[in-house]
Symmetry: C2
Subunit: 345 residues, 2 copies
């Protein structure tokens, strides 16, 4: 397999300089028509393809937008990407997707990689393990628009699109109180990340507003996966005053919780109610469908894309926009024990 044909190969074939080849290909008036024709024909014969990125080096426009997410296989993120594409594709932009697998190092490398690829903008959700912001500063320094969605870092000059996670946590918890639960546990993923911190704060506020004392033992930190949810339930049920419900900031952990409750013979929702967060598609197909909080991810993606387009339209302005969407509680079987009798819901 041969290396790609470069302007150097064409220059060699014609015994002229690479600079002349380059100028001829770019229709530089300093080059004679005869030379231009010769270069063009030779380039064609040698299968040389003038590189759009080489042109982008001059114009600063590649019409590619980089999207970075922790995982592409979470419905939440793939739906955001769909929203971004639906908005950007008709405007002539191509979307390049990269996943970090929650690895801060990989995130830094990916950012550098996309900057090298001369993307016109970066739309991203921050990895859980990211502490440093130097790669974000690099994006800003290179004058590439940066929009954070869902998982953000508060930074001057960066636009953000989030949902009101406080409200989501509040709604989920209030719903569990409304169906008669009084000992409501909360499974969080990482309180250092704003999304989880705000869901937790919503949870606490709902308890306080309903005169239920916050119990530190009921707060448990888990990974966002099935195993972690199983372990969380085992731990919570060992408590002297075991909880009768859980609001999990992750649908996957909530799924693990339900599976473990089944194993232990504890009836969901009658003896233990469960609410997750994210409205992953599996939540409605489960043996016992799961209550959860929907985050309208397609709308989030569209909004992030629109913020980017607005910035592209006004290259001479530095636009910093903060958009917050509202979550929606979806009540399903895993928490609807008293729904029939209880009109509060």
């Amino acid at each position: 397999m041969k290396e790609k044909v470069t302007i150097y190969d064409i220059a060699k074939a014609l015994n002229i300089t690479a600079a002349t080849v380059s100028r001829a290909l770019n229709n530089n008036p300093k080059i004679s028509e005869a030379t231009k024709t010769l270069v063009m024909e030779t380039a064609k014969k040698m299968n040389y393809e003038q590189n759009r990125f080489a042109l982008a080096l001059k114009s600063g426009k590649s019409h590619n937008v980089g999207v970075i997410v922790p995982f592409i296989n979470r419905n939440f993120f793939s739906s955001i990407i769909r929203g971004i594409e639906e908005e950007l594709y008709p405007k002539g932009y191509h979307v390049i997707i990269c996943q970090t697998h929650e690895d801060a190092k990989k995130e830094e490398e990916t950012v550098q990689n996309l900057l090298n690829a001369q993307v016109d903008g970066i739309l991203m959700s921050v990895s859980k393990t990211t502490q440093q912001v130097r790669h974000f500063k690099k994006i800003l320094k290179s004058n590439t628009p940066l929009v954070f969605f869902d998982r953000i870092k508060e930074m001057d000059g960066v636009s953000t699109v989030t949902i009101n996670d406080f409200q989501g946590g509040y709604m989920a918890t209030k719903h569990l109180i409304d169906v008669g639960c009084t000992r409501i546990a909360h499974a969080t993923v990482d309180l250092a990340l704003p999304i989880y911190k705000h869901r937790f704060e919503g949870y606490k506020q709902a308890l306080e507003d309903h005169d239920i004392a916050y119990n530190d033992d009921y707060l448990i930190t888990t990974k966002s996966d099935i195993d972690a949810g199983e372990k969380a339930i085992k731990k919570l049920l060992k408590l002297k005053n075991a909880p009768d419900a859980i609001f999990s900031a992750s649908d996957y952990a909530a799924l693990g919780a339900i599976q473990q409750l089944n194993v232990l013979g504890i009836k969901v929702p009658d003896d233990f109610a469960v609410v997750g967060f994210s409205n992953e598609p599996f939540t409605q197909f489960m043996e016992l469908s799961m209550s959860t909080v929907d985050q309208s991810p397609v709308e989030m993606g569209k909004t992030a894309a629109r913020v980017f387009l607005e910035q592209m339209k006004e290259p001479n302005l530095k636009i910093m926009k903060k958009v917050e969407l509202s979550p929606e509680l979806i009540v399903r079987k895993s928490s609807s024990k008293l729904t029939a009798n209880n009109k509060q819901i």
Copy 2:
């Protein structure tokens, strides 16, 4: 927001030619040390970042690999991508993901876009609507390694990684015969695509091997979504001699089928057995877990990545490799009506 700094800006600032700036940055011996130092310092001061893609234009290596799939939000494809990343990331490659949404035009544009971005290779699964192969020929012409996985086009010089879809179709159908079904329908997606054609051929062969006549009325072409599965069932049940089972080449259509059977009060699996294809995660969390065929997508991704790496190691050879993986039948509730009594399974 300013445009990106280019070598032309540096040239202007120093009142020298862009060619000189370029040579200085590339450490060309024709340029004096004094000029080099001046250019380097000015470039640094102006936040110029030498572009890896500009370098790639010369070396032909960007260390980016493009992966194109119809959808990122199908577990099958996201798992393949995970396999590709697990194999390539430790070798210093970054994976850029693009989705076509089954749109042939978008696929062509995406290929061109990745070629422009100087990717070192393209690993892809062909869109359902793709008829033309000119964009694949373009990849080959540019000497960029191309590996097809799962959905392939037979082309000279292109390596492929597939699973044995014939075997998958055969296993699923034989299983339905084994549990006592005799009027087995088949929902296909598009017989023009080899994967679906082979599943259909496996289905036919299993019928023939068990002395069941193939019935053309039982073959139905659907989209790979829930709605299409619902419609398929409605249509099949209107037949005079309605089927008692369906093998669907799509898990999503199979899900729609099960939901529609529930609506109609037809008991699954007792009165109607269902087997899907792909082992999407929802299949195990459903009210009635779904039998399906697993395609070991992570392994498929790893294999495709290894084929690419092999080609990169031997740039002077044209390697064409065909790898076929074996599928695995997973029996769950939607088809296990006779499992207890029937030792054939």
